[in-house]
Subunit: 629 residues, 2 copies
């Protein structure tokens, strides 16, 4: 008998499988009542999985409902987030929400009982609703339990069949097998119908089974409305030494003949009179509660006090790539912060994340070239309170945009690092150049966007990232550039640095990352012409240092040049204009950005070709000063 | 014998397989010479696939090298784009580029011989270099040949093994099988080594084979350095009635003992002296040419002249959702434009793309919930000159961001429609709300971004999209709002509409989509206070009508309110500020946007809660007018 078996003492009421079936019917009734009361929702998608969730909740899920933060609790991820009425019906049976609250606030303004579950509810770990994300996130949670915490909690995921069309699900199953996550059980509600009509594979369970097996996971096939079969399968899954996928054949809308297995009912609610019929057909409301369940005793986390951080130091003037400083710092931080974990997308030797791998291999996970799973793993690690960093080329973070967007809805604390930013990449060409990442990352709710120019500031900011909540992004450069700052210089998030300033500055040059160096060079050139330029290193793109920008605009008569190695939209230029506008500062900004489709070339050639060289900044300054160019 | 078999007459020189092996050696030598001359590149990744490409090019690829636009040409997609030296070595053997040009311009500034191939070269269909995209794009090309053109061309894809970790590859193989693309042959160069080190599956060809089979494609396993075996396998692939994946076991860097099957050599070039040794070991340079090859005769496209377009008409004042107008218009356009094709992500009943499906089922392809493949299919259709539209919820287009970014590098002409924009989605909550899409789409090079407010303008703009090149995006709203414009009103891309204006306007209210209606309502409220407001419907977000914005700013003393149902960064507000800055217009913009993490609620409640209601626009106007709020 596996250590995961139920304790009969604590579960007596549910030992009667008929009662579990009744619980499933109760979930159905409540899902219909809830969605009809709200006037929107997905009752049919809830009804198909009622037995799956009833058996799981009553007989296998070990969860201390009054203490959702109990570290021994199992995790239940509702990957098919649109079946929120089902999940919430289960929460009601768990006694954490009243029937009244659900019937009056589901999907209403201000309610945590949202249309798709989010961690606004303490029993929800990650937001779902964009298909194909719950399972990938769950892989991250299971990875933490299996390989970092060595804790006994299990991770259960309820998926829809439609979402198995998302490639991200196969990245997830592949990694579940690769990391041998035997603590992960995936229940797939194969109800045959998607939103428009039949799914691609309908009820071809053997086809799904072949895919699951080929990706290295175990599979079990059951009738998803047979509580005894589900119960046996879940027990078998727990006993198996591999991640397991339970393929459950179900009928969408099962339990009400009015819409069972019928097309055209996705996301549609029953009008009140029909809902009444359906509830009658289902035997009316019930008031069953989940049996009391106890989480597995979670061993206390071993004492891993944070140690003082010793950051790497770089002598001013030496040439170091910011990606190198990122890797060095990550490795140092890893020694100080035992909960820091790194996720790689098979490019650690280029992002330099592998400097961490060399020192802390047990906290380094390479998911190979699967950027969606890379970000999802970080989200899952965040659920368990780790401090995840995930790094790849900035260009390839676009692959995970939907996951990054949802990380913000999930209140996840993840740190993303995108190296090889901009045309500075050089000969590899456009496919490798992040030219859209600042726009992507700025628009994420609650995000922080950092873009250091040198190794010293990178080191400071990487440390600051570890303490920052939300989605935190650092953009790093491929090439080596001079260290601009002395060790120990602070770089508060939301700040900016004046690299050159005087009481008689005539124009302000604003850069970040590689363009800071162009701005400094331009200021020197301007100086030879007798023009005094202020230079701002805008290392914190979001939040932005509006005060420093405002002061500079006022000091230099509104003459600002912004240079950024990014397409013109959504990046540094837009951020500066928004900051100036918010402070009611009048300025004229010469905005230099990548306005072409770049090709290959050496970094200096490309920077010059796209108009980000010192000479272009000088010419822009001349335009502002009225001297032509 | 299949109709695809070679014609011996045209291929005589290559009937000698020893010569094909020699050609492979030539490719190796040239790949080393080219990358060493450039000082960067991926020789080892090129060498592993030399026989694969030599056999394909010499004996199976039917291509009129002097006429790359010949519609009968086969398509060769280099999914492992970093092996560009190998591809270019083949182009040299095809006689379309001189050795001198490659040795002096590969990866150099201004050269079309970029680090990763792009359609800057007429023999390249799509840009590659972001792993996991070439095969998905190729599925779109093959789909066109198989189901739209019924043309005899074949589509060949050369993939790396690392990229099989990307979920997008499995979306692609799944769809290759689903659409029965027997004209597609995928060659996988299983060289065991990725960038950091060994791949997840290394040389476990049976594991790959199980996955390929489970996803519905045929697989063949060969020694990737055995030209006879490759030749037989490719012939078998052509004869098979299914999409076929050739799993070729290879050795990275094969042919030079100095780096063959060695770690630490990814993306590294040989210094000149070692390159000389390697070339000697490979038997020195050769001057072999590809045999002349003739494309299959492509039947002339049947006469399908465009017919006049009859757009749907909507009476002003009636309430119609813009997504409904999108679907109606798409259906009408489909009758007029025989090359218009629609790709759906299993949400056509909600985006209303299925209005097209009902009328033109033969030009409608549902790839199910696989947004990466949805966009890739559109890119592939664009390669064959079709007019693809792809539609899903705007939020879920973020799933395909990397593909959209690369579509611009590919010079693809694709039209994307994202419905259910913003908090206007209502009770479904944040996961379904596009709040980052404008930032994403604006930052794409050469993109067009449209956001109509009513059915009439939507209809006009959808028609305009069909004629527009590049990546063209239209953002649509879930709910039904009043039709603002009379049928026949033109909406040029790059324009804006003054919905209210006079010679004594005091403040300008700028909206797009749903906020246009808030602005109109606010203007009415302001009017009751004796304040005259100008209202701009900024339906064209990129390009933007700077002149109309400038005129409005000047007319209303720089007082502008911008309201957008999007996060504050990268969207309408940033676009307006950039436009004003570019025209040196001084203005003070009150920027109303979604600055919270929204939950559920009714659309009007949410619009009010996030501060986009008429009362918020009125208050913002008061702030600008100095009257407080």
């Amino acid at each position: 008998m596996s250590s995961h078996a139920r304790s009969p003492q604590s579960r007596t009421p549910s030992d009667d499988l008929d009662q579990v079936a009744e619980l499933g019917q109760q979930f159905r009734v409540d899902a219909i009542r809830m969605s009809t009361a709200a006037g929107s929702g997905h009752p049919t998608s809830s009804l198909s999985a009622a037995e799956l969730l009833a058996v799981l909740a009553a007989r296998h899920l070990r969860y201390d409902w009054q203490h959702p933060s109990n570290p021994g609790n199992d995790h239940l991820v509702m990957s098919k987030g649109h079946a929120s009425p089902l999940l919430y019906a289960m929460f009601k049976a768990a006694g954490v929400v009243s029937d009244y609250e659900l019937m009056t606030t589901y999907r209403r303004i201000g309610s945590p009982w949202e249309g798709h579950p989010t961690p606004a509810l303490p029993w929800v770990d990650v937001a779902t609703g964009s298909l194909g994300q719950g399972l990938p996130d769950a892989v991250g949670i299971a990875l933490a339990g299996m390989h970092l915490e060595k804790a006994p909690y299990r991770v259960w995921v309820l998926c829809g069949d439609s979402e198995l069309a998302e490639g991200s699900m196969w990245e997830a199953l592949d990694k579940a097998a690769y990391f041998r996550l035997r603590n992960l059980t995936v229940l797939v509600d194969v109800n045959r119908l998607g939103m428009r009509g039949p799914t691609e594979l309908e009820w071809d369970l053997p086809a799904y089974a072949r895919r699951v097996a080929a990706f290295g996971c175990r599979h079990l096939e059951v009738d998803g409305h047979d509580v005894a079969a589900i119960d046996a399968a879940l027990q078998e899954a727990v006993d198996l030494d591999q991640p397991t996928v339970l393929l459950a054949k179900t009928r969408k809308g099962h339990g009400f003949t009015g819409f069972e297995d019928a097309e055209g009912w996705h996301g549609k609610v029953l009008p009140p009179d029909i809902a009444e019929q359906a509830i009658a057909e289902l035997g009316g409301p019930r008031e069953l509660s989940l049996p009391r369940s106890l989480p597995a005793a979670c061993p206390p986390a071993p004492p891993h006090p944070n140690r003082p951080v010793t950051l790497p130091e770089y002598p001013a003037g030496s040439r170091i790539a910011t990606r190198t400083a990122f890797g060095d710092t990550l490795a140092s931080l890893g020694s100080a912060l035992p909960r820091l974990v790194v996720v790689d997308g098979e490019v650690g030797n280029s992002t330099h994340a592998d400097a961490f791998a060399a020192m802390h291999p047990e906290r380094y996970f390479d998911v190979f070239t699967a950027e969606q799973q890379m970000v999802a793993t970080a989200i899952g690690l965040s659920v368990r309170g780790f401090i995840p960093f995930a790094a790849t080329f900035g260009a390839f973070l676009t692959r995970a945009h939907d996951f990054i967007r949802m990380a913000a809805v999930s209140r996840a604390n993840i740190r993303l690092v995108g190296t090889h930013a901009g045309v500075e990449v050089g000969p590899d060409g456009a496919s490798q150049m992040a030219l859209e990442d600042l726009a992507m990352m700025r628009a994420v709710h609650g995000s922080t966007v950092l873009y250091p120019s040198d190794a010293t500031s990178t080191s400071y900011l990487v440390q600051a990232m570890a303490e920052r909540s939300g989605v935190v992004y650092l953009r790093a450069t491929r090439g080596a550039y001079p260290v601009l700052y002395e060790p120990g210089e602070p770089f508060p998030i939301g700040g900016a640095k004046l690299l050159r300033s005087s009481s008689h500055d005539q124009v302000t040059l604003i850069g970040a990352g590689v363009t800071t160096h162009s701005c400094l060079e331009a200021a020197q050139l301007l100086e030879t012409e007798g023009i005094v330029a202020r230079v701002i290193d805008l290392y914190s793109v979001k939040p932005i240092d509006s005060k420093t920008l405002q002061d500079a605009a006022e000091a230099t008569h509104g003459r600002l040049v912004v240079a950024e190695d990014h397409h013109p939209e959504g990046g540094l230029g837009d951020a500066v204009l928004a900051a100036l506008n918010s402070t009611s500062t009048t300025a004229r900004v010469e905005h230099l950005a990548v306005r072409v489709r770049p090709g290959s070339g050496s970094p200096p050639e490309l920077i010059d070709e796209v108009g980000l060289g010192a000479r272009h900044i000088v010419a822009a300054s001349h335009r502002l000063l009225g001297g032509g160019s």
